[in-house]
Symmetry: C2
Subunit: 379 residues, 2 copies
C-alpha cells in the first residue's frame, strides 16, 4: 500500500499553514498546492489534452459514477485504461462515485452493503459498494482513486453525521481490502463528519489508523457558508498526516483555493471554471465578468488584459460575446480555456508566494484587485 503515491514536502510557508510540495504518481509529478480540472465524462468539456498541457495542468479528475454508467468501466479497461482511452498521459484522479450517487441518481437505497440506485440516464437498476467502486476504479486505472464514502447533506444533525462517518470508515476498510492494484494506483480516504468538530476528529482518527497514501476532506462546499468551511478546515487539516497529500474535494472558487492553501491543503478540484464558462462568465484579475452583458458588445479588449492565455492573446470580448450569444461552442471553448488557465495560474502564484513566505500578502493583493471583502467572497 502506498507504493504508487509519494508526497514530497519542499517547504512550509512562514506566514501561513501552507506548504509547497510534490505528489509523485505513476504518470508524473503534481506540484502542490494544485487545482485539478474536472473531466467528468473522460473529457474536460470542450478542451483537448494538448490545450490542458499548454495551460500546465498537472492532473485532471474524472468521475467514476459517470464512467460506470457510460461507457462502462469494462470498455475503458479494454481500451487500456482511462489514460489511453482519453489520450491523457499525465496523472488522473477518479472520485469514488459516492458523491454523485447521492446527488444525481434516482430511487437510491443505502444499506450497509452499498447503495442501490437507478441510473439518471436510463433508469437502469445499479449497485455501488466499496468493492464495486474499487473494481470500477481499478479498471479505469487512475493514479489516485478515492474510497467509497457516504457524503451527508448540509445541514446534517450530529446523529446522522456520526452514523454516516462511521459507515464511511467501515467502507474505507473494505475499499483497502478489495483494492487490487496498490502498486499502480494510490487509494485516498475521505474524512467526513459534517460541521461537527468531534466527528471530524473521530473520522480522521479512524482513517489515519488505516494508513492510506493520501487523505481528502469530503462533505464541504455543499452549501454551508464559507466561514464555516474555513472553520472546519482549521480544525481538520491538523488531524491529517503531514507526510501525505491533503485533498479538499469540490472546491474551486479563487478565494477558497487561496484560503484552503493557507490552511495546508495540497489538492483541489471543482467544475466551477468550466461550468460558469458555459454561461459566458469568466474570472479575471479584477473580478468576474459576464460576457453576455451589452456593455461588452463593442469592447475590443481581451477578457483580462493581465492574462496571457490563448484566449486573451487572440480574441476580444466583443468576439467572444458574439460567439456565446450565437451559441457557437468555440465561444465556450475560449471561456473554458481562460477560466482554467486563470485558476491554474492562481495556483502557480500561490506556490510562488509560499516559496517566498508571503502567501498572506498575496491573498490580500489578490482580494483587493478581485474586489473582494469579508462579505463578498462567494465569487
Amino acid at each position: 500500500m502506498g507504493l504508487a503515491i509519494r508526497y514530497e514536502h519542499i517547504k512550509s510557508c512562514k506566514q501561513t499553514g501552507a506548504r509547497l510540495g510534490r505528489v509523485h504518481t505513476p504518470h508524473g509529478v503534481i506540484e502542490t498546492p494544485a487545482f485539478m480540472p474536472v473531466g467528468t465524462q473522460a473529457t474536460v468539456k470542450t478542451i483537448s489534452p494538448e490545450e490542458l498541457k499548454q495551460m500546465d495542468a498537472h492532473i485532471i479528475l474524472s468521475n467514476t459514477y459517470h464512467l460506470f454508467l457510460r461507457p462502462g468501466h469494462e470498455l475503458i479497461r479494454q481500451a487500456g485504461g482511462l489514460h489511453r482511452f482519453m489520450n491523457w498521459d499525465r496523472p488522473i484522479l477518479t472520485d469514488s462515485g459516492g458523491f454523485q450517487v447521492f446527488s444525481l441518481s434516482e430511487m437510491r437505497k443505502i444499506t450497509e452493503e452499498g447503495v442501490h440506485f437507478r441510473s439518471h440516464l436510463n433508469g437502469d437498476k445499479l449497485f455501488l459498494s466499496p468493492e464495486v467502486a474499487m473494481q470500477v476504479q481499478n479498471a479505469l486505472g487512475a493514479d489516485i482513486m478515492m474510497a467509497f464514502d457516504e457524503c451527508p447533506p448540509y445541514p446534517a444533525d450530529h446523529a446522522y453525521a456520526k452514523q454516516s462517518l462511521e459507515r464511511t470508515s467501515r467502507w474505507a476498510e473494505r475499499c483497502l481490502t478489495s483494492h487490487e492494484r496498490p502498486n499502480d494506483q494510490g487509494l485516498f480516504a475521505i474524512i467526513q463528519g459534517g460541521m461537527h468538530e468531534d466527528l471530524r476528529r473521530q473520522s480522521a482518527a479512524d482513517l489515519t489508523s488505516m494508513d492510506f497514501p493520501g487523505y481528502a476532506i469530503g462533505g464541504l462546499s455543499v452549501g454551508e457558508p464559507k466561514p464555516l468551511m474555513y472553520e472546519v478546515l482549521d480544525y481538520t487539516v491538523p488531524l491529517m498526516p503531514a507526510n501525505k497529500p491533503r485533498y479538499l474535494m469540490g472546491v474551486g472558487s479563487p478565494d477558497a483555493l487561496i484560503e484552503g492553501s493557507i490552511r495546508g491543503i495540497d489538492m483541489f478540484d471543482c467544475v466551477l471554471p468550466t461550468r460558469i464558462a458555459r454561461n459566458g462568465t469568466v474570472m479575471t484579475s479584477s473580478g468576474r465578468l459576464v460576457i453576455r452583458n451589452a456593455r461588452y458588445a463593442e469592447d475590443f479588449m481581451p477578457l483580462d488584459p493581465n492574462c496571457d492565455c490563448y484566449t486573451c492573446k487572440n480574441y476580444t470580448r466583443a468576439y467572444i460575446r458574439h460567439l456565446i450569444k450565437a451559441e457557437e461552442t468555440f465561444g465556450i471553448r475560449l471561456t473554458s480555456i481562460h477560466n482554467l488557465h486563470f485558476l491554474l495560474n492562481l495556483m502557480r502564484n500561490v506556490r510562488q508566494a509560499i516559496s517566498e513566505d508571503r502567501l498572506l500578502d498575496y491573498r490580500n493583493e489578490f482580494f483587493e484587485l478581485y474586489g473582494m471583502n469579508e462579505s463578498n467572497r462567494g465569487f
Copy 2:
C-alpha cells in the same frame, strides 16, 4: 476592378477538363482546385484558426446574411474587419446573403430594388439589396465578395428562371457600381439560369461582359439529381473566362468535388463536413461511417486507418462514439476536424492527380474504395 484577385494558371489535366492553379488574394494564395470550410457565424463550428491551418485550409467562407443579422457588419468593421475579428489571417470569401435570404428569412418580399424580409432570429424587419450587400461586405472586408443574386428554387420553370437571372444580371451591375474597395476585395458574379442551357448561356454572356475578377455558378446542389448538376456544369463551365477563378457554390460531397474539378471548377464550399460531423457521421477512405452505431462501441481503431489527421492519430472510434453519445462537444470537434481534413486532403490528392495528368484514374480509384457506383454517389 480586379486588382485584388488574380488567377494564375499552372497547368491543365490531359485526362480531363481540370486545371491546376493559384488564386492570389490580399491575404495569401489559394492552391486550386480548393475546398473552402464554412465559418457561418465568423467561426468554423467547434474549430480554432490554428486547427484550420494545421489541416492546411487556404481559405474559409463566411455568411454575410448571418453576420449582417448578428453581430452586425458595423461592429465587425469597428473590430478591424472579419479577419481580425475572428483571428484568421488567411483569405476569406463572403457570400452575398442572397441564398440565405431566400432559404432562411421569413416574410420576404422581392422587388427590383431588393429584398424586404424578417430576421429568422428575432423578427426584425430588414432589407438587403445589391447596394446594401456591398456595403455589408465592404465592412466585413473579405478578400472575395459575392454579388447579390436571386437564387431560384429547384425546380424553376423557364419563365421564372429567365426573369430571375435577368434580375441577377441587373443586380450584378449595381454591385459593381457600389463596390467601394476594388483594390482590397475582389467581387465575383454568380451565373444563374436554373437547369436551362439557354439561360445559363444568357447569364454567362451578361456577366462576363461586365468583367468581374471571378465567376461562380449558383443555383446548383439545390435538390436536383447529381447527373443533372454535372450536365449543367458540362455546358456552363466552358462559358466562363479561362483567366478567372471558377467557383461552384454549395458543393462539398467527395464525389461532386472530384466531378466538379474534372469539369474545370477551381473553388468549392459546403457545410456538409461540419454538419454531418455534428451527428457523428464521418467520411473515410472506405466510405461513410456513422459513429453512433453499436458496432463501434468496442472498436479501438481510428475513424479512418488511412488518415493522418489529429483525430485519427490520437483517438479511437470507441472514444469518439462515447463522446458523441454523451453529448460532449469535444466529440463534435474531433469529427469536424476529421471531416474537414478528409476533404482538404481529397483536394490535395486532386491537385496532385492533375499535375500528373491522371485525375480520371484517381477518381476511379477513389470511388472504388469509397464504395461508390453510378447509382450511389449521393454520399
